[in-house]
């Protein structure tokens, strides 16, 4: 996280930690389901995850809830073939079904999914929260969870970012992407799959839904691309329903 600050898992109880080799993030959306970016799990069909921990120091992970994947569901639109020189992050979304349900509490609770109504259409200028243990301005990765608040900006902002040795024009931009950030505030490597959380409209008490997932960016510290989750609600719900156990029904 660039431009963020240390935070506690209680402020992002949906934050899931994917330890190496993935070293990424995810968002708990249900007792059995973790939402993340497709590129996080495309090479790791049975990831191990942790929930409910601020610190990802190995000794501290023992106090976290260990989440074991039962099955990974990568969005069918995700281009699996271009992973070595990927310039297409369209449909960068995946679901992980857990073997055991997660026990909820102050440090572990899910984030809401957006609905199909227009209220949940991310608007430019709307602020969102991101969190993760990824790269910061100073370190390749951090042990303590970091968080940041950043606005949604026009996609054009992301298309204009000039990265070091990156020709942004060769990358694919679609309507499935949200551009967010501002100068100095951004997600970065290691934060992938984490939620871009936006406060529910018309809710008296703060309540967040996952508007985006940390996907990619040309350069850290500027604007970044987030998968537009609203476009995948039907796929998410259908996948969860089709792969739930009878007891969950």
């Amino acid at each position: 996280i660039f431009g963020g600050s240390r935070t506690k898992i209680q402020s992002f109880p949906w934050q899931v930690y994917f330890p190496p080799p993935s070293r990424a993030g995810g968002a708990l959306i249900d007792e059995y389901w973790v939402l993340t970016a497709a590129h996080v799990v495309e090479n790791n069909p049975y990831p191990v995850m942790y929930a409910g921990t601020t610190s990802v120091v190995t000794s501290h992970l023992a106090n976290a809830q260990l989440l074991t994947a039962e099955q990974v569901f990568i969005h069918p639109g995700w281009d699996m073939d271009s992973k070595d020189s990927r310039k297409n992050f369209d449909n960068d979304i995946a679901l992980v079904r857990l073997k055991e349900p997660v026990k909820m509490g102050p440090m572990v609770s899910p984030i809401c999914l957006p609905s199909n109504s227009v209220e949940f259409e991310p608007l430019e200028g709307e602020l969102g929260l991101i969190s993760g243990w990824g790269r910061t301005e100073k370190r390749q990765s951090v042990n303590q969870l970091m968080g940041a608040k950043l606005p949604i900006v026009p996609l054009k902002k992301c298309q204009e970012v000039e990265g070091d040795g990156v020709n942004i024009k060769t990358y694919v931009f679609t309507d499935n992407m949200i551009c967010a950030g501002e100068k100095g505030t951004d997600s970065c490597g290691g934060d992938s799959g984490g939620a871009f959380a936006v406060q529910h409209p018309h809710e008296e008490n703060p309540k967040f839904y996952v508007a985006g997932l940390v996907s990619w960016g040309a350069k850290c510290g500027t604007y970044g691309i987030y998968t537009r989750v609203k476009n995948y609600v039907d796929w998410i719900v259908q996948t969860m329903q089709e792969n739930s156990t009878p007891s969950e029904d």
Partner: protein
Amino acid sequence: EPTLHGEILSPNYPQAYPNEVEQSWDLEVPEGYGIRLYFTHLDIELSEDCAYDSVRIISGDFEEGKLCGQRTSKNPNSPIVEEFQVPSNKLRVTFTSDFSNEERFTGFAAYYVAVDIDECTDFVDVPCSHFCNNFLGGYFCSCPPEYFLHDDMKTCGVNCSGEVFTELIGEITSPNYPSPYPENSRCEYQILLEKGFQVVVTMRREDFDVEPADSEGNCPDSLVFVAGDRKFGPYCGNGFPGPLKIETKSNTLDVIFQTDHAGEQKGWKLRYYGDPIPCPKETGAHSVWEPDKAKYVFKDVVKITCMEGFEVVQGNVGSTSFYSTCQNNGQWSNSKLKCQPVDCSLPESIPHGSFEEPANTLFGSVIRYTCEEPYYSMQTEGGGDYRCTGNGSWVNELLGTELPLCVPVCGVPSEPFVGTQR
């Protein structure tokens, strides 16, 4: 030994009898015979009332004759001067003389023979109730058709006993009714109904005509009802003197009609029916009886249906109704079965939720599920209250019997993020 004949001669006969003698002869012929005693010679001093000398003929305590004087036969063809015939087989003859027989009276010569007695006619009291048949040395009685001779061998009666009435309704009459009933009879009938019915006898006044009671109130002919330890009657007279309806409280009744040797009354006719004994109408709470009747009697069957929320438990099986039969002892079968409140028992527990231990788990009671807030909430709002229903299930207005689902509360951090925005 009894003989069929014999001779009696006064002392010294045919010489003059001695003074001051008294001699007796006890004559006896076989039973069934009488004695014919006749004198062929009689020559005894005459005196008033035969006070001096005499021959006396005594049958039992009765003096048949006392003879004295001189007699001659009035029948030239017969030597008999005096004759006695007694219907008894024993006779005593006593000869008595006083202190003087100066004229040398010679006394008497007498003979006796056994003669047949006609028992059927020779006595004031007729020996047979119906037909009398005399024979040598005895007699026998006989009866009209349909009568039989009683053990006393003298009286005839009709064979009217032994009939058993088992039908639930019936009529019984005295023999020959309304013609005069037979004499010397004892008719015993029995009404034997299935247990569970009591015999009720009805009698119309005009259907009863039995020889009336004597001056002391005793019935010569009588009708009596006996039901176990209870006795009704004896009844007699013209017109039934008892209650027109007799409830015997028993399923068996002996009807005894006794007649004596006389009477020309027409008898009686009764009707009876089996009155089923009642079973109490129990106002059992929480149940409905079908059919609903003011009174239930033996063999009635009712279907007892428990009201909603109540059930009857037999063994481990609960049901909403059962059948009960009014039994012959006036008690209902299955009387131990009662409609009791349905017990839903403790509800199932749910993941991430709980319910408060209810005061009871009977029909109508309510439990409330709650989720482990604030991290779980009920998926269906208002779906926490469950009421114990009549079928033994906990039911929610929205979810029915489905258990509530506690789902994680989403999107609510326990601590807000306070970013240090640069």
